[in-house]
Symmetry: D2
């Protein structure tokens, strides 16, 4: 079951083209990932406090339709591990079931000294659970 | 009864100081105003479609305490007319009842040609109702 | 010869991880594209005024190293047409010649009614010239 | 002589009203302050590294005219100390000499433990010099 969370589109999200600015969809993606990580109770901030940081290694998106001021949009996310070092969020943004944007965001873990690490077992099981 | 709406603080809201970037509190204020305007059913987007635009003339805020990643914050808003041409939102951001930021945002109405207008009676009664 | 334009990293660009927030690199990419389009004298705003809008269809980036507060970074851009309907910016962000982020941004043209159009000949020759 | 630095307005700065989003003028103010602090050679990042953080205590602005996509705007800043603990930037945004936005931003110093401190003498003389 994909994880799903809803947001309203505000002026801050839009640009002079009248619709959501392309880079801001990546902000919505990130909100979705943050809620995904925290969905079982342990938040990203709590992982950070433990010296575990999940950072984006690569991101891509295809912009199919636009969201506009006042729209209610859903960020829909699934997660899988693609190696011991890399996790993958497959994400999309929908409005009333209609696909607006879909993308892939690969994340890696670093420690407090910014060194790449394997995903800790408890984080991995939380993300896959 | 002040209007109240809650938001989570995400990475996008923070800066390298580790807490919410000062200008982003004005984004939260604006989200609160948008929800305030729409609280009786007619959204800002709908007013815009009718050629009524509510724009900020002046804004101020005092930053008393910081919000951080993962915090849940409330935007609390009241509204009054200070003249036929100017409305005033008195707004604050709280976290668990604790005041973080308070401010005042004065707004005016413009029409589709960017001319200053009085607040339309129906908008005014909606905002004051 | 790739097009090159420099920007400073400010607090607004960073997040609580202490470095530039991933989605904001797409803002730098867009600044680079805007300057690329306008490099021969006709600005994006001028194209918009003529009813020609260049919008992002797909974007991807790989985040190799981080930029931090106070860094001076270069946005380096090249452009090619991949069909009559689609142009491609290959872009990267460097700091002192070191690659930080590279990506690909595919753009399409729409008219004032948001209909997909071929790239106008004069825009195309300007972009390729 | 007020300090002056210029920026271009990009899509990211605008919103669906077609002009710069009100909160983003505070980003331009902050860019101007950052350049002001660094104008004699020592950057804000360098002060931060030394455990000196300059944070905004209060900010206000009056939005008189709008900047639009492609505009070239100047951020004009002066600084004064209003107490040993508080500095004040008086700032405005101009376009070709025309006033668009003016405001006041009061800043305080905190140390690495987020405790309020007096302005260090060397920072103060740098800001006033």
């Amino acid at each position: 079951m994909p994880h799903r969370v809803s947001y309203s589109v505000y002026y801050e999200d839009t640009d002079a083209m009248g619709v959501v600015y392309y880079a801001n969809y990546f902000k919505f993606f990130e909100r979705g990932r943050t809620e995904y990580v925290g969905r079982q109770g342990r938040s990203i901030a709590s992982w950070n406090d433990a010296g575990v940081y999940v950072v984006v290694h690569a991101a891509s998106a295809t912009f199919r339709k636009s969201a506009a001021l006042g729209d209610r949009i859903d960020v829909v996310s699934t997660f899988e591990m693609v190696s011991r070092f890399r996790g993958r969020f497959v994400q999309r943004i929908e409005r009333g079931g209609e696909l607006l944007v879909d993308g892939i965001v690969d994340v890696v873990c670093i420690d407090g000294a910014s060194n790449l690490t394997e995903f800790p077992a408890d984080l991995q099981s939380s993300l896959l659970g």
